[in-house]
Structure formats: C-alpha cells, structure tokens
C-alpha cells in the first residue's frame, strides 16, 4: 500500500486528530491570554494606585505647609489640627507606597528619598508649630523661608509617577503585541479547525453515502444470488427428472431393439443369408453401445448431484480392492502393477473408488497392445493435499489434444482400437473437482500416460 493510499484510507482519522490538537492548542492559548490580560489589568490598577498615593502624599505635604503658614500667622486651632492630621498621615502613605513598589527597587529608592525629604521638611516645621502652640512668638514669615524641599519633593514624585506610567506603557505594548499574535493564531486555528471539521463532515457524509450504495448493491447481489440459487435448484430438479425419464424411457426401446433382433436371429436364422445376419449384428452392437452411453451419461449426472460424505479414506486398502476387481475384468491380460505408498485421503469413499476404477481401467485398457504391460501407482504430498498418480506404458496420447481429454464423450482413440464411451475421465474430473482438487495428465504417444489427481489429506485423528 502506498503512502497516498494509506493517507486517503486514514484521512478522516488524521484530519480529526489535527482538528482536535488545533482546538486544544487554541484553548490553552486562550487561557494563557486571558491570564495575561488579567495581569495587565492588575498592572494598570497598580500604576493608578501608585499615582494616586503619590498625589495624596504630595497634597498631604502641601496641606501641612498651608496649615503651618496659616497657624503661624493667625494662630487658629483649626489649622493646628489640620497640620497634625496631615503629618500623622504622611508616614502611613509612605508605608503604603513602600508596599506597593516592593517589586521595583528603583521606585522604592525614590520613595525612600521622598520620605527623607519630607522628614527633613517636617523637622524644620515641627519646632515652630510647637512654639506657636505653646503661645510663644514665632516669626510668621518663617514658612516662606527658601530652605525647604518642595521643589525636590515635587521632582521626585513626578519621577516616580512617570516611571510607573512608562512601566505601564511598556507592559501594555508587550501585551498588545502578544495579544495580536495570539488573536491571529486563534483566528487562523479556528478557521483551520472549522475547515478540517467541514472536510471530515464531508468525508463522513460521502462515506455514509457510499456505504449506503454498497449496502444497496449488496442487497441487490444477494437477491441476485438467491434467484440464481433458486434457478440452479430448479435446473437441478429438471435435470433429475430428465435423467430419471432417460434412464427409464430410453432404455426400454433399446432393450426392445436388441431383444427383437436377437429373436430374429434365433427364430429366423434359416431365412437370413449371411449379409442379413451381419446387419442384425450391427443393429445389436449399436443398441448395446447406445445402452452403455446412456448408462455412463446417467452415472456422470448422478455423480454430479450426489451428496459428498467425506471421511478418511484408506487409499492403500481401496486401491488393493480395486486392482483385484479390475484384474478379474482383464483375466486374460498379464499387467505388472507396482503400488508405492499411498497416504490416506479425505473424501467420499464411493466417489474416490470410482476415480481409481476409471483410471486403472484406462491404464489396463490402453496397455493392451504392449508387452510387457506395466502400471505404476504412487503419491506425493502437496500443499495440504495429496497428489496421487497412475502411470502406464500404454498407448499414451498426443498432448496437442490435451484440452479434449477430460471432456464428456471426447475420445482421443478410435473405438476399434480401444473401446469406450468417453465418459470415464469426465467422471474422474468431476469427482476430483467436487473435492476441490485438480486433475491433470502428462503423456507421449505410444510411450504411456500419467494421470495425477489431488485430494485433501486424511488427518491422523479421524
């Protein structure tokens, strides 16, 4: 089977697996993408949080500064309170920023710087507030002194915020790129899977369609075979009734022809001259011949219809029996027989006996003109079959006419040389074919013939 054939044979399965794998990959990618989008969203939130905290920190500082200025100039307790709550909130904000930027040491350093700057300023502001609160005089212009860190605080806070924004931009653009890639993969994958699944659907649909057609064809051929079997059965029945009437109706007139000719010979011998007697002889000879033709034809048809009862057949014993019978029929002949080892066969004993009878009768018959006459029987093992042979040194035949050898009523010798009806080998072939074996022959004119036939081996435990 070529690769292409394999491919087309398994195409549906392969396509199915490709679609399945693609869909699994897409699912995994989608899950990952979702996780990354969630992370990104958290980063955005984080950045916003940091910006907000920083802005709050800066506004707390400004609020402390404003309250400080107001308190020193007006001495209102409200301003003192506002100052105190702002100063109290500043370390908390710093703490919260510290935690938020744990993942980023540079930002933490900046937060630390910011914290120091704030502390330094508060360290300047706090003593003046305490003095004022305790009722002592403080110069109201003190808050306008230029030595505070406002500019620096503002700068660092901006740096932190910018850094966060930059981080966010970088992360977002990374995510954007990978998301775009992912979207491409998912869309392509989905289209591909869709295509593959459509193809599978088409394949399966076609398969189902073809199967339906095949089933239909099968049903049709089954019906066809049933009809054939029925007509064959009818033909067999017809043949049976045909041979039945042949055996009865044709034989009776033949018997009459032969009988009355005989009566004529007996009762009117005196009135017949020699030619008349010869003609009667011809009539009788031909009626006898027709009788044996009918008998052989019936035997041939009977063997074709006979049910085969297969058993183990002891060929050595069977052949011994057949040779003894045939030697009785050819009493006047001296034929030397040589029987080699014959293993048991599996088949119908009566039918196989007929095969040996026909082949051996032929061997005896066709060696009638040679001396010494010699017939050899043997066997060899084939592929699960036994091959038996009957070899003689008789008249043989011309291999040019081999195709007529086993045909019914076909003869390769004239009747005045070797009498016969031409049915014997047709029967042999029919019996062997019915045992699923083969039969064949090799011969040379005037040098003898060898007939081979195959039969299933008789197993030892039968």
């Amino acid at each position: 089977m070529t690769f292409l054939q394999l491919l087309s044979k398994h195409s549906v399965v392969i396509a199915f697996w490709i679609a399945l794998v693609t869909l699994s990959v897409i699912t995994t990618l989608s899950y990952t993408a979702h996780n990354r989008a969630y992370d990104n969203w958290r980063w955005v939130e984080h950045t916003q949080q940091v910006s907000l905290e920083i802005e709050e920190l800066v506004s707390l500082y400004l609020s402390a500064r404003v309250s400080w200025r107001n308190f020193l100039s007006a001495g209102n307790a409200v301003d003192l309170h506002a100052y105190e709550s702002a100063v109290k909130a500043i370390p908390l904000k710093i703490e919260s920023l510290w935690v938020l930027t744990t993942d980023h040491p540079q930002q933490q350093n900046k937060i630390k710087t910011l914290s120091t700057l704030l502390h330094d300023d508060i360290a300047v502001i706090a003593p003046t507030m305490s003095l004022k609160a305790s009722g002592q005089h403080v110069d109201p212009a003190a808050p306008f002194a230029p030595n505070l860190n406002w500019q620096e605080i503002k700068r660092v806070a901006d740096i932190v915020q910018n850094e966060e924004k930059e981080l966010l931009t970088r992360r977002s653009s990374e995510l954007g790129e990978s998301t775009a890639r992912l979207v491409l993969i998912i869309v392509t994958g989905n289209i591909a899977s869709l295509g593959i699944l459509t193809a599978i659907f088409y394949f399966l649909k076609r398969e189902v369609h073809q199967r339906r057609i095949a089933q239909k064809a099968l049903a049709q051929s089954e019906r066809h075979f049933r009809l054939l079997a029925e007509s064959e059965k009818a033909a067999n029945t017809e043949l049976e009734s045909f041979s039945y009437s042949v055996s009865h109706d044709l034989r009776a007139p033949l018997r009459a022809i032969d009988g009355y000719s005989r009566i004529l010979q007996e009762d009117y011998a005196a009135s017949l001259d020699d030619e008349g007697k010869r003609l009667l002889g011809v009539i009788r000879k031909n009626s006898k011949r027709m009788g044996s033709l009918i008998d052989d034809l019936l035997e041939f048809s009977r063997l074709g219809r006979k049910q085969i009862t297969a058993t183990k057949v002891d060929m050595a014993a069977l052949v011994k029996e057949v040779i003894e019978d045939i030697q009785l029929d050819f009493k006047e002949r001296a034929v030397q027989t040589c029987v080699h080892e014959l293993p048991p066969a599996h088949g119908d004993r009566a039918l196989i006996r007929q095969v040996w009878i026909n082949l051996l009768t032929n061997a005896f018959k066709f060696t009638s003109h040679v001396s010494p006459a010699y017939v050899e029987l043997g066997s060899r093992e084939g592929n699960g079959m036994n091959i038996y042979y009957v070899k003689d040194n008789g008249a043989g035949f011309d291999m040019r006419y081999y195709d007529k050898l086993f045909g019914i009523f076909h003869r390769l010798h004239r009747d005045d040389e070797f009498p016969g009806t031409g049915v014997g080998l047709a029967i042999v072939e029919r019996v062997i074919l019915r045992h699923n074996g083969r039969v064949w022959a090799e011969a040379k004119e005037n040098e003898g013939a060898t007939f081979f036939f195959e039969l299933p081996q008789g197993s030892k435990d039968e």
């Binding site: 039945y244 055996s247 009865h248 109706d249 034989r251 009776a252 007139p253 033949l254 018997r255 009459a256 032969d258 009988g259 009355y260 000719s261 005989r262 009566i263 009788r284 009626s287 006898k288 027709m290 009788g291 044996s292 009918i294 008998d295």
Partner: protein, 147 residues
C-alpha cells in the same frame, strides 16, 4: 375365468415389448405356462383384490408378482404399497423389475417391503439371464408359507 385359477406369475408391465421379452425369457425356462400379463397398476389391483372387471374371480393368489415401476394410472410403487399393506397378500413375493436404478426408487421399494429389486439390462442376453434366474429363484428355490 378358469384361466386365472392357478396363476403362478402375475406380470404387471405397460410396455408390450418388455412384456413379450420377459415372457419369452420365462418360457425358455418353461415357467410361463401360468402367467398373467396385466398392462397397468389399476388392472393389477383389480385382479389382486378381485374388484372391477375381476369381481367374482376365484380368489387364488399368484406365487410371484413381477412389477414394473413406471406405469400409467397406478404405478408399481402404489401396487406394492397396497399388496404389502394387505394381510392376505403381503406374503406373496413381489419383485420390482425396472429400467431405472434411481436410489430413491430402490429405497422406497425396500421401505414398502419389496422382496427383490431388479434392473432390466439393455443387453438381451443379460436380460434373459436376469429374468430367468429371478423366475427360477422365486418359483423353485424360495419357500413360502403354505397358506
């Protein structure tokens, strides 16, 4: 109808030639003197059961029935069935003489109790031999109950 009183052989055969050849074979052995030839099974049954045209016949039984198988109206198998089913007739030797040696005919005949089944050879010499030997055996060699 005195001619039917001491019948020895009842030949039931529809074919005139076969009947003549059979009678000739038996006559050669001097066994055809008390032979009745009937041409079909229906006539044979009338004869054996003294019915129809044989009503009132003195009820003597033949010593041997030679039956052809294939005959018009009532065939040999049916005659055999009726004979072997009858208490008074079943002891008469009945021999089927036919041209066919189909297995089913042989099996059926023996199931019905035929005494012998012979196939008539085409060759006349062989035919003479078969018929005369059958006649000799059943009429002279074989023993049957007295009554």
């Amino acid at each position: 109808m005195s001619e039917f009183e001491s019948v020895e052989i009842l030949l039931v055969e529809d074919n005139a030639s076969d009947a003549e050849l059979t009678i000739r074979a038996l006559r050669k052995k001097n066994m055809a003197n008390h032979l009745v030839w009937l041409k079909d099974g229906a006539e044979a049954l009338d004869f054996l059961f003294c019915t129809g045209s044989y009503e009132g016949r003195l009820n003597s039984k033949p010593k041997l029935i030679l039956l052809d198988l294939k005959m018009p109206k009532v065939d040999g198998i049916e005659v055999l069935r009726r004979v072997k089913a009858d208490e008074r007739l079943k002891a008469i030797p009945a021999v089927i003489m036919t041209s066919s040696h189909e297995d089913r005919d042989i099996i059926e005949s023996y199931q019905l109790g035929v005494n012998s089944y012979l196939v008539k050879p085409v060759d006349f010499e062989q035919f003479l031999d078969v018929v005369s030997r059958a006649g000799l055996y059943w009429l002279l060699i074989n023993k049957v109950p007295e009554k």
